[in-house]
Amino acid sequence: MQADFGRFTHAVIRAAPDSLAAQALRSGPAELQVDMEAVRREEEQYVSVLEKTLGLRVVRLEADEELPDCVFVEDPAVVCGNTALITRPGAPSRRKETEALKTALANLDLNIVEMTDESATLDGGDVLFTGREFFVGLSKRTNRRGAEILADTFQDYAVSTVPVLDTLHLKSFCSMAGPGLIAIGSSEAAQKALKTMQQMSDHKYDKLTVPDDLAANCIYMNLPDKGHVLLHCTPEAFPESAKVFEKLKDHMLIPVHNDEKRKVDGCLTCCSVLINKPSKV
């Protein structure tokens, strides 16, 4: 399990609808204008990195104007190993995002588990998989019942809950930056959450502390020909945090622009579902 942590072969992404600019949920100031042109450019770069730079097979889903947040495919599905948990997103307006995703993942021969319990909510953005265990942030979007279902779905792993009070998602201030390496923001809330995670875990994790919480959201991969790969924030967006990432000598570092989607709480991990489908033996 740990051995192939970060090993991915496929990525599912979804195009951003035009409705994103006006209707996407956001926790930040509403007056920030989202430049859809910029969004498209970011999207292109993102896909380009995954597909061309890293060689993943990218599955693109069509945008749905009815679902302004549908670009953030991380939330409606959690994939681990050969199993995909189709979640029940905490925001009612996003519940339908699961449909297209479910179809796409089923087409990839994943075992689909659906979260049907009406009392459960779970956003994939609150799920941090470390390769050894899950941490689930209990946030506005994710409740305990949702975490329980996730635990039932991935029974091999310990599932620990972490209170998330100040931010949208658990992964709004942390993510995996390597095997056993957690990138974590510097805010008090982030540090507190990290401590909680460390206490709850039987495993030792190293931490990579970055000055900006949002910059702590990065994408780690371990690819056959590339080794450690890290998609992280650009120096333009978070200069200080970028410097921290640049110190990772063993990683193939790829700065990725995400300035527009960040306005609507979009992070790097939000925009894709990564899957590892080993070629059939």
């Binding site: 975490a147 635990a151 792993y157 310990a158 599932v159 809950t161 909680t196 206490q199």
Partner: protein, 1007 residues
């Protein structure tokens, strides 16, 4: 060492044979271990010969003689060895002097350990033995006689009154012990009488402490195996035989004949022998109690007492799941672990995903069926295997598909792969227990190698790694862990959980203690462990730690044993199907074990044995990092540290004593000790106190008192004086040794000792009763008959008193509840404060409370006398709920005391202690006397011990006064009086320790 465990029953059975066998064994051992120097000597002497045991008992009484015979130094090793054949006839002291000297203290304690029952049993045994074994009789007879004489002599000194009657008992006990020892050798491993075992054990401990713990362990181990081998033969004689049915991991039944009073260990060894299993420390025997709950059979206790009314039906199971099975040495061990895990998986106890079920199943097929064979393995046959709780066709297909990919893999390799995958499962090795948090929410407590996990439904909501846990305790149906303060926190917090009942709470507690010891303590130090073992035979983990067992495993030198993998689908195999042990292999095992040089610590049964007896210190465990020694010592340090300033004339730094009073029930560990340890360690001391609270049932108490609590108080006053020039160091050492003794002695008392720190009192529910009579109290008539009762509650730190279930407070000060007297002595103030934040150390140190404390005045730090006239003490407890989310909630409950039904309070006052962990040389025991006098409501037992060490002689007097009666007695007054008198009587001596144990009638629901 070897002698450590002597089971009473065994003793009874075959005194003669045992002795003979023992001799033979000794000889063998000698031959094998010729090289071993002086250290070996004592052990050897102790082990084989009945005499040594005799000697031990006699020591108390006949100390002088012993001293005369061979005063100080260890008897010539060679001579002893040679004499072994003759050893029986020789008076014990001759043989064992060395051990004796060391032993003395322990011996005293040992009696305490063994309850009254043991005494009676012993007597019976003695009689039998006498009849049967002439030789043995001789020895024994001498000892007792001498003892009697001494007692008589002593009696007058102390107090003429009741002495005579009392005296007899002691003598008998001594005899018994001697016999026991003989037997013990033979059967060491198997059964261990509490009392006897303890006695023997103690010496071993001392030795260990002193120097050669490892050696002891080794020797013990050797002996044990031998004993195990021998034992079966012996069983035949007089004992009542019971057939135990043990369900093995492959589903087969293994019937095993066991003497009715055999200890768990015996059966366990028989099973392991049957399985040809060497790495047995990961395993255990379990049984279902009346409530159908799975309980672990305590190897150190009699089977019969544990299973109570249940059937003699057991299951062989993995008890400690090795986090890294690849580190196991033998395939057979891994195979057994696989079998356990297959059960765990198929039963749902170890949840895993579909993919993992399939993968594990495929390795199972590969291991049991070999390469995939399309003709033999059709799906319908595969369906006979249980891979998962709910097995689907889809799963079976997947299993088969994966099975095909394992072609060429050997069964052993398949097992390895199975384990590599199983060990990653989050619930691997997690022992779950239903509980409720402080808010009544259902949760699960998961005890595992790394600590305690808290689950709510499937979610992990908190985790307490062992290093974070300072103390583990339970009270009634509550289970508590005290958490080390975090970086930003100032105070420790206690987290309480509600278990369904008292038994469940105790079960969790035990499992925690065992897991912590097994996985967390890496130091192979035996001393610590041995102590551990010794004290709380019941509750301490007596076996080897993982580190030790690993080390031992490296010494395994035998060809991989052949064993047959039984198919999991055919569960109903005949017994024959069980793993076969080839004779040759078996022999090999034994040899290796016996080999002197090899030092197979790991296998030594001895260790295990030793563990049984007493391990007071167990609770506190040093972190692995520390030297072995450190681990052992630290616990004690605290006490020792205390200085008695006043007594300086005598220069005893460390006379500590534990005079513990009472009982077995409460095991107290001194926090102070811990704290100190911690502080010493600085870093992260992982010291965990294990506190067990048990309700003590004292017959006496009940009788005397009507309803409320008539406080029975037993007061033990120990004073030690150093006669000769006081060289501090030496004395210290002596004192140390003495201390150890005293501690043990304390155990004797029905309600034991709580001494500070280390001792965990056993809660021998069973044993408690016995103790009162037995206790060899030391003493000189200082206090004598006075009925001094004190109801003082001790502030003893660790003890938890049973009061309200709800109040889990760590530092609950016990208020002397209802004490009719109204005097509650207490540090109550401190205690209360402690809640807040008072450093535990202080509390502990100061806890002593004596109203009158004249005596105490001497000690500087020491005892603070607390007179509490305050009525009901209020207890405050902090309870933290384990839920992370609920930022820890603290509840403070204040209750008025009077509600409590029964309580046991123990107050300990110590002047100062040296660290004589016993490391140093204990000195030679010169004399030991026990005098008991009784009056209407008072029983005074005085135990006098003279120890000669390095030219200095130390006299230690321990008095135990049990006062039974109604509340009318002003206990505080009585205590003060007693202390005062003691001082007056022995102006040249100092009071080093006062322990007050009060028991009030309780009606405890829980068992």
């Amino acid at each position: 060492m070897t002698t450590e465990v002597g089971s009473e029953p065994e003793v009874k059975k075959e005194p003669e044979k045992s002795s003979e066998e023992a001799q033979a064994e000794q000889q063998q051992q000698l031959a094998e271990q010729p090289a071993e120097p002086s250290e070996s000597e004592p052990s050897a002497a102790a082990e084989p010969q009945p005499t040594p045991t005799d000697s031990t008992k006699p020591d108390n009484t006949d100390q002088q003689e012993n001293a005369e015979a061979e005063p100080s130094s260890p008897p010539p090793s060679s001579g002893q060895k040679k004499e072994k054949g003759i050893s029986r006839f020789l008076p014990p002291w001759l043989k064992r002097q060395k051990s004796h000297s060391q032993v003395e203290p322990k011996e005293s304690s040992s009696p305490t350990d063994t309850p009254n029952q043991t005494l009676t049993e012993k007597q019976e045994e003695e009689e039998k033995e006498e009849e049967e074994a002439e030789a043995a009789e001789e020895q024994v007879g001498k000892a007792p006689e001498e003892a009697e004489k001494r007692q008589e002599e002593a009696g007058p000194k102390e107090e003429g009154e009741a002495v005579s009657p009392v005296v007899e008992q002691p003598a008998e006990t001594k005899e018994v012990k001697a016999e026991v020892k003989e037997e013990v050798k033979a059967e060491e491993v198997q059964a261990e009488n509490n009392s006897v075992g303890s006695v023997e054990t103690q010496p071993a401990k001392e030795e260990k402490e002193g120097t050669s713990a490892e050696k002891k362990g080794e020797k013990g181990g050797e002996e044990v195996q031998e004993s195990s081998v021998l034992s079966p033969l012996k069983l035949g004689k007089k004992m009542k035989i019971v057939v135990c049915h043990v369900t093995l991991l492959d589903g087969t039944q293994f019937p095993c004949e066991v003497e009715k009073r055999a200890k768990g260990q015996y059966l366990f060894f028989k099973v392991c022998e049957h399985l040809n299993l060497l790495e047995k420390d990961y395993f255990g025997l379990s049984f279902k109690d009346n409530a159908d709950q799975r309980c672990w059979l305590d190897p150190t206790k009699e089977i019969k007492r544990q299973i109570r009314n249940s059937q003699w039906q057991f299951a062989f199971n993995v008890k400690f799941y090795p986090p890294d099975p690849s580190q196991l040495t033998e395939d057979i061990t891994r195979y057994l672990l696989c079998l356990q895990l297959r059960q765990d998986v198929s039963s749902g106890r170890l949840p895993c995903s579909f993919v993992t079920h399939a993968l594990l199943g495929s390795y199972t097929l590969q291991a049991e069926l070999g390469d995939y064979d399309p003709e033999e393995q059709r799906l319908d046959s595969i369906a006979d295997f249980q891979f998962a709780p709910s097995q689907t066709k889809e799963l079976e297909e997947k299993v088969v598909e994966l099975h095909k990919s394992h072609r060429g893999m050997t069964p052993a390799q398949a097992d390895v792969q199975f384990l590599e995958n199983a060990k990653k499962l989050s619930m691997y090795g997690v022992d779950l227990h239903h509980a409720k948090d402080s808010e009544g929410v259902d949760i699960m407590l998961g005890v595992c190698a790394n600590g305690l996990l808290i689950y709510k439904d499937r979610l992990r909501i908190n985790r307490f790694a062992w290093p974070k846990i300072l103390k583990i305790s339970y009270k009634r149906s509550n289970f508590y862990i005290k958490i080390r303060p975090g970086e930003a926190e100032q105070f420790e917090s206690t987290v309480g959980f509600k278990l369904p009942n008292h038994r469940a709470a105790k079960r969790v507690w035990k499992v925690c203690v065992e897991h912590h010891t097994f996985f967390r303590l890496t130091n192979p130090e035996q001393p610590t462990k041995s102590k551990f073992l010794t004290l709380g035979s019941k509750f301490r983990y007596s076996g080897r730690t993982q580190a030790q067992t690993r080390q031992a495993s490296t010494l395994i030198d035998r060809p991989a044993p052949y064993f047959e993998r039984t198919s999991s689908k055919r569960i109903s195999r005949s017994l024959d199907g069980a793993p076969v042990i080839s004779v040759s292999d078996h022999g090999h095992m034994l040899d290796s074990a016996r080999t002197p040089g090899s030092g197979e610590n790991g296998h030594d049964p001895a260790l295990e044995l030793s563990s049984d007896s007493k391990s007071p210190q167990v609770e506190e465990e040093a972190e692995p990092g520390k030297g072995a020694v450190a681990g052992a010592v630290p616990a004690e340090l605290p006490f020792e540290t205390g200085t008695d300033g006043a007594d300086s004339s005598e220069t005893k730094k460390g006379n500590v004593h534990l005079g513990t009073v009472s009982s077995a029930e409460s095991r107290n560990i001194d926090q102070s000790a811990e704290d100190k340890l911690n502080s010493e360690i600085n870093g992260q001391p992982e010291v965990i106190e294990v506190v067990e609270e048990t309700v003590v049932i004292e017959e006496v108490v009940k009788a005397a008192k009507p309803k409320s609590s008539a406080p029975e108080v037993s007061v033990t006053v120990a004073s030690s004086a150093t006669e000769e020039v006081p060289e501090v160091k030496e004395e210290e050492e002596k004192s140390a040794s003495s201390d150890s003794e005293s501690e043990e002695e304390a155990e004797f008392h029905p309600q034991s000792p709580s001494d500070s720190a280390h001792h965990i009192q056993e809660e021998p529910e069973e044993e408690q009763e016995q103790s009162q009579k037995a206790p060899p109290t030391n003493a000189e008539p200082q206090q004598d008959a006075e009925p001094e009762t004190t109801d003082k509650v001790e502030a003893v730190v660790n003890q938890q008193k049973e009061e309200d279930e709800k109040t889990p407070g760590e530092e609950t000060v016990v208020a002397p509840e209802d004490a009719p007297n109204g005097h509650h002595v207490q540090d109550g103030e401190e205690a209360l404060t402690s809640l807040g934040a008072v450093a535990e150390e202080e509390e502990e140190l100061e806890p002593c409370v004596v109203n009158g404390d004249a005596s105490h005045a001497e000690t500087e730090r020491v005892p603070q006398v607390i007179c509490c006239s305050e009525p009901p003490v209020v207890k405050t407890e902090m309870v933290t709920i384990s839920d992370t989310f609920a930022a820890q909630k603290t509840e403070i409950a204040t209750k008025e005391v009077p509600i409590v039904h029964t309580e046991t309070k123990t107050i300990t006052y110590e002047a100062a202690q040296l660290d004589g962990t016993g490391d140093g040389e204990p000195g030679v025991l010169m004399t030991a006397q026990t005098i008991t006098s009784e009056s209407l409501c008072t029983t005074t037992t005085t135990h006098i011990t003279k120890t000669l060490k390095g030219g200095l002689s130390e006299t230690r007097i321990e008095k135990r006064i049990v006062i039974t009666g109604d509340s009318d007695i002003d206990h505080d007054q009585a205590l003060a009086q007693a202390i005062k008198e003691a001082k007056e009587q022995h102006p040249d001596m100092s009071v080093t320790r006062v322990v007050v144990h009060k028991e009030t009638e309780l009606a405890e629901d829980d068992d």
